[in-house]
C-alpha cells in the first residue's frame, strides 16, 4: 500500500510497434497517510470518550447492580 493517488496508470501495448505505453485515468485511491490519519482520529476520539465517562458512585448504582448486592 502506497501514498494516495488521484490517477491510476496502467500499461497497454501498441499493436503495430509493440511498444508498451502508459494510460492514465482519473481515479482516487486511498493511501497509507489517510489510513494513518483515520487511525489517529479514531484513537483520539476513543481517548476523548474517557473524559466524558461518568464515574460510578455507590449511590448511583443501577438496578441490576443493586439486585446483586
Amino acid at each position: 500500500m502506497g501514498w494516495s493517488k488521484s490517477t491510476e496508470t496502467r500499461t497497454e501495448i501498441d499493436e503495430v510497434t509493440g511498444l508498451e505505453y502508459p494510460v492514465t485515468v482519473s481515479k482516487y485511491v486511498f493511501g497509507v497517510e489517510l489510513l494513518g490519519a483515520a487511525l489517529g482520529v479514531s484513537g483520539g476520539l476513543f481517548g476523548l470518550s474517557f473524559a466524558f465517562c461518568k464515574p460510578a458512585r455507590p449511590g448511583n448504582r443501577s438496578g441490576a447492580e443493586m439486585s446483586l448486592i
Binding site: K5, S6, T9, V16, T17, E20, Y21, T24
Partner: protein, 206 residues
C-alpha cells in the same frame, strides 16, 4: 562571358542537388506523437520509498539509413511538464523549483551522435548510442544501449498514411546528483539513481 555564365549555372545546379544526393538514403523520422504512445518511464528505488512515473511529451527527429545504421543521428526532446506520478502532492513537488523546476527548464534533450557496436538482425539493430543528455540545463556525454526496429511501410497500419516507422528502445541509468536535481537531499526517499526507459516510435510518411 557566355562560358563564364554556363560554368556558374553548372555549379549552381551541382550545389542545389548535392545535399539531396548525399542524404538520399537517409530517412527522417518525426517522433511527435499526439496519441501519447511515445513515452519515458522513470524509476527510483530508495531505501524507504520506490517511485515510478511516466512522461509522454516526446518530440524530435532522427535521421536513419537502413543500410548505414551506425550513421544514425537525431534529437529526442521531452517536455518536462509531461512528467507524471500518480500522487498529486508528489507530482507538484517534482515539477517545482526544488526538483525539476519546469518553468525554467521546460525540456530534457538527448542529442544522438553515432551508434557503435552495431549488430543487425532482420529489422532490428542493436548498438550503443553516444550522445549528449541535457537535464535542468546540465549537459553530459552519455553512451547508452539502444535497440532500433525499422518497420518499412508499417506507418499505414498505425496512422493510415503510407510510410515507415522507426521504433527506438533505450534503457539507461542517470544520477540526479550529476544533473543538479536536488542533489544530496532526501536520498532515503528519492534515490540518486534514476532508471530511464525510453520507448518511442518515429514516423516517416512517403
Amino acid at each position: 562571358m557566355k562560358q563564364f555564365h554556363k560554368g556558374k549555372l553548372v555549379w549552381a545546379l551541382i550545389l542545389s542537388v548535392a545535399p539531396g544526393v548525399l542524404s538520399a538514403d537517409s530517412i527522417k523520422f518525426d517522433f511527435r506523437d499526439p496519441k501519447k504512445v511515445n513515452n519515458v518511464v522513470f524509476l527510483m528505488d530508495a531505501p524507504l520509498e520506490s517511485i515510478n512515473g511516466t512522461a509522454t511529451g516526446v518530440s524530435g527527429t532522427v535521421s536513419f539509413d537502413p543500410a548505414k545504421p551506425a550513421a544514425t543521428t537525431g534529437k529526442i526532446v521531452l517536455a518536462t511538464s509531461s512528467l507524471h506520478v500518480d500522487n498529486p502532492l508528489m507530482k507538484k513537488h517534482m515539477l517545482d523549483e526544488g526538483w525539476m523546476h519546469v518553468s525554467k527548464f521546460p525540456t530534457i534533450e538527448f542529442v544522438a551522435g553515432k551508434i557503435t557496436k552495431v549488430k543487425t538482425s532482420g529489422t532490428t539493430i542493436i548498438g550503443t548510442i553516444a550522445g549528449e543528455l541535457t537535464v535542468k540545463g546540465v549537459t553530459k556525454k552519455v553512451s547508452v544501449p539502444v535497440r532500433l526496429t525499422y518497420l518499412k511501410g508499417m506507418l499505414i497500419k498505425r496512422n493510415r498514411v503510407p510510410g515507415d516507422l522507426l521504433v527506438l528502445r533505450c534503457d539507461f541509468i542517470i544520477k540526479r546528483s550529476d544533473y543538479g536535481i536536488n542533489a544530496g537531499n532526501n536520498e532515503e526517499k528519492v534515490s540518486d539513481e534514476i532508471e530511464l526507459k525510453l520507448r518511442v516510435a518515429g514516423a516517416a510518411p512517403y
